[in-house]
């Protein structure tokens, strides 16, 4: 039974993470987590101190818990650049500042780093309006490249083909073709197929384009992720050439190292130390965008594009009394995540909200609780109290 502590500033409440019901908890680990939360109010997704909050909060939690594995995400620059126009010089400074924050953490903590960038961002050239289809086109707030098309008419397919001919759309992928691309990963698509949530077609935008349809944000993006088929990874622990290899690299070194796995979103190779490696970020035409599937792939060591993808009619599952109400789209604890069966101590801290506590399988996590950039406070999750000694 995992505990969720919500800190809405000056006010905390405790819940069972799975049911969302209020929960009393007298274990000293809960008191410790409450204390760390109260020391570190979240400044907001776009606030320039949001990354510093990650470092400070992580160090405070480490002082109390002494973990061997720390997972961090620094995302302020991604949120900010997605929504605001910056000069190239300002954007470069933001990337450097984000990397400097990660380096500061490493310097203070002394942990061995595995720093992963989700890849660079480019200006949005044009939105592709697919809202008028006879069928239903579904994308998501945080996806630019992918859009699901349900129940398309022949006219819809003609329109999509015309957009492809005009090089707005890169490809139109059938459900079968999409699943086949990941066949070797034994994709977990059955439940979605059974419930008919998966789209008939996945439509892939040409680089620099983004979809405008159901699920996309009211705030038009200014910059979007580039097609990052390769992403930068810096670590002294050894070489890795595929995003799926990062889990093994971390786990196989935990016996001898205290490790910090650090994600820096929106940042590409130009800002990484020169001795970084470039990793494959997906098979064939597919590349992960920053978001749920990226984090999950990194953490499980398997591509997880069907777990929480853009394009599904996920809203059909949004009934009352769903499990894990604090966990966004996630309705269950993901399996085989990085620290789930790790016997040592682990924590995660980040300013990606509502899924850090699920993605890495760590004992304790603290993340911001922001929705659509509105700052609601922080979520602390306590999965393993038994490892806490005081």
């Amino acid at each position: 039974m995992s505990l969720a502590i919500i800190d809405a500033r000056q006010w905390q409440n405790r819940f069972d993470l799975e049911s969302g019901q209020k929960k009393e908890e007298s274990h000293p680990a809960a008191a410790m987590l409450s204390k760390v939360l109260s020391w570190n109010p979240y400044p907001g997704d776009m606030d320039e101190k949001a990354n510093e909050w990650v470092t400070r909060t992580a160090l405070d939690l480490m002082d109390q818990y002494e973990p061997n594995l720390v997972c961090l995400s620094y995302v302020q620059q991604f949120f900010s650049h997605r929504h605001l126009a910056h000069s190239q010089a300002d954007w470069e400074k933001m990337c450097e500042t984000a990397m400097a924050e990660a380096e500061k953490f490493i310097k203070i903590s002394g942990y061995t780093p595995v720093i992963v960038g989700t890849g660079g961002m480019i200006p949005l050239k044009e939105e592709i309006d697919v809202s008028g289809l006879d069928g239903l086109a579904v994308s998501s707030n945080w996806s630019a490249r992918y859009c699901g098309v349900h129940w398309p008419s022949s006219g819809d397919m003609e329109l999509l083909s015309a957009l492809k001919a005009r090089e707005k759309i890169e490809r139109i992928v059938s459900k079968k073709e999409w699943i086949d691309l990941f066949r070797s990963e034994e994709p977990k698509v059955k439940i979605h197929q059974d419930e008919v949530l998966m789209p008939d077609f996945l439509v892939v935008a040409a680089e620099g384009h983004s979809f405008k349809t159901l699920g996309t944000t009211l705030r038009k993006p200014v910059n979007i992720p580039a097609n990052n088929f390769k992403i930068p990874v810096y670590t002294p622990l050894g070489s890795v050439d595929d995003i799926r290899g990062i889990k093994h690299l971390v786990r196989s070194n935990l016996d001898h190292h205290k490790i910090a796995l650090i994600l820096v979103e929106g940042v590409g190779k130009a800002f990484f130390p020169s001795d970084h490696a470039m990793c494959e970020n997906g098979p064939g035409w597919f590349c992960h965008e920053p978001g749920d599937a990226f984090y999950l792939t990194l953490s499980t060591g398997k591509h997880e594009p069907f777990a929480y993808p853009a394009g599904y009619r996920s809203f059909d599952l949004d009934a009352e009394a769903v499990k894990f109400p604090f966990s966004g789209y996630m309705l269950s604890v993901p399996e085989n995540t990085l620290a789930l069966d790790y016997p040592g101590k682990s924590i995660a801290v980040g300013n990606r909200s509502m899924f850090m506590h699920m993605m890495f399988g760590v004992d304790i996590s603290i993340e911001c609780f922001a929705r659509n950039l509105f700052n609601q406070g922080c979520l602390g999750a306590l999965h393993r109290m038994d490892k806490y000694e005081k």
């Binding site: 919500i6 006010w11 159901l214 009211l218 769903v322 109400p325």
Partner: protein
Amino acid sequence: MKCHFCEHRCDLTKGKSFCGMYADEGGRAVERYPDRWCTYSPSRIESVPFYHAWPGSRSMIIGTAGCNFRCRYCSNSFIACRNPAEVQDVMFEFSGEKLTAMAKKLGCHNIIFNVNEPAVSLPSLMRVSEHAKKEGIPMGCLTNGYTTEESTLMLAEIFSFVHVGLKGFSNAFYKEYVGVNSIDPILRNIYTLSQHCHIEIASPVIENVNDHELPDIAEFICDINPDIPWHVFRLLPEHQMKEMKYPDIERMNQVLESSRKLLPYIYFHNFVGSDWVNTLCPQCGAVAVKRFSLGCSGDRLDEFLAPGNICPACGAGIAMLGTKVSWNEKREKEGV
């Protein structure tokens, strides 16, 4: 030529309206951007938040651009406070018929206008309502209530359930924080709307700014009808008040204690995990409707315990427009 849609009564011969959404055309106030919507997304009715109308139902949320207020703390300033001309590239173009068809396609029980102020898009909304009525889809909205008497009746014609923002209870507050001189039209319109449709009222509370006006608001609501649900929001200031301190939850809750004796349906929320989102029976205090709050636009029905809108413990009636509608009811009925 004066615009008749809101109490600014802008002189359109001098240019566009204050909200930027109307212009003079041959002596008539016409929309500058008709049938253009900033969103069409399925959401829970509780997220709006309507707590006493078709609990559990799936709503299609719509909005346009522009507003006739300039709240210093506006949460949607990126769409509501900007010149509508500047945000037309994010808009979707749907006729009333197409928007209604979309609501059906998405399995929505109702359509709710809630991003900005409906008074700035009344002719478009009227066209949607013509089709929605034919399809048996009720419509609701959030409004700031600063409409003329004439357009208030239009609101009541289009919408069967209305959430009115009563942001303070003094001219001074409205002048300083909202940008209009008088609260009187809003109070008048709340009364009018209460006579024609289901209403709920929302008041954002800003500590040391308008919290002392909360008891007056409660008395005003009670005089109209004590069964009107009142939502007190812990305001997370945005826009020009981004740096303000978040209101203290315990203290604000204490301020509401005396009002709870007047109004049985008071809710205090807009923060994650609020303890004050359940509907309690006005007679015996038993929980009739359980909800869960994720903060702004994140409330949901947890459990509806009052079949037929009757308290499960004592049998007293719970004030409600319609009754529970399950999330997938439309889909199941239509075999989608």
